[in-house]
Symmetry: C2
Subunit: 199 residues, 2 copies
């Protein structure tokens, strides 16, 4: 980074923006296997929060790949850079006073911890969407598991590449015994009880 | 880009988010020489818009360089990638229903036009902060012009690298005869008259 850079103070702070949105801005980091339900639950939660008047934005592995990260492949270096950029964008969204939902497989603890360390202590809410592999593989909405089993996709999480379970996630959602709406409401309750909503 | 990507529909649309913010989300792209007043005017405008109840976010060349784009240098390829990423982030902010202000020298027409083509027709508002070079060089708040004149900085816009004036900017602010507040209010009036505010 050049030494020719000086920080500008922005007049309107994160706190002012968050407060006006009656929330504490943060990133809700959904992690879990492909087809575990991350995006579906995140979408449902966003809908609920929006209807309650909160200001949110949903970052999604699928749509960010078409824009900001379209220059990146799927090799190891790209994977790290992919998550790094998403974390930086999430940080900007927090700074904008929004509750940022993000739904990425993000299988590696190190990558997730890097995002956590990027923001303030209570700004990172890790949500483990825990769906057994056999259920995910049965759903297989995009046929990816089948392709992975056939060797058409290399390094596919759960099949040919590991998924590291979060050790201390803020929320551990076992979807086996819960509907999408129940899962979303469980997260909403956490946010309410921990001062992220009605702030 | 992989074929293994499927677009997810997000439940809450840009339009819904914008409407609730009583605005039409867009990017206000401030361009001009170093020390021309881009950031100062953008900051002032953000303050005014916030006080009027609008939802905004300011992207700034100085602070984005510490985060998302900290891996980039100042060579030609990095410059293009720098602006590309900022454009993609601005697009996400528009999608989040915000008025995004961005203040970057962005000296090349091609780069600015690339951002314009990334978003919808009326989502890009190009604002040329037109301050004569001698005034900018006299201000020189970071001592950059002096360094550039001494050959300590290569490819410095206005000194050793060209600034291409916008040909058809939505707003052309000649700061010579205007205060910061007058400039900011002129932009606000444009936004009001063109349906971006009170929408």
């Amino acid at each position: 980074m050049s030494n020719n850079i000086v920080f500008h103070n922005q007049y309107i702070s994160k706190k002012q923006k968050s407060q006006r949105n009656k929330q504490k801005s943060c990133i809700l980091w959904f992690t879990g296997l492909s087809a575990s339900g991350k995006s579906t639950i995140a979408n449902e939660l966003e809908k609920i929060l929006f209807e309650d008047g909160y200001s949110t934005y949903l970052l999604d592995g699928d749509n960010i790949r078409f824009g900001l990260n379209k220059d990146l492949g799927f090799d190891n270096k790209s994977r790290v850079e992919n998550i790094r950029r998403i974390g930086e964008v999430a940080k900007l969204l927090i700074d904008a006073g929004l509750i940022c939902l993000s739904a990425f497989i993000s299988p590696f603890e190190e990558d997730r911890d890097n995002i956590r360390s990027l923001v303030e202590k209570d700004e990172f809410v890790e949500i483990f969407i825990d769906t057994p592999l056999d259920i995910c593989e049965n759903r297989d909405p995009k046929g990816l598991y089948k392709k992975a089993r056939n060797g058409e996709i290399a390094f596919f999480t759960g099949i040919s590449s590991p998924y590291e379970n979060p050790k201390n996630p803020e929320l551990h959602i076992e979807t086996k015994s819960k509907s999408v709406q129940e899962s979303a409401l469980e997260i909403k309750n956490y946010l309410k009880e921990n001062g992220y909503l009605n702030a």
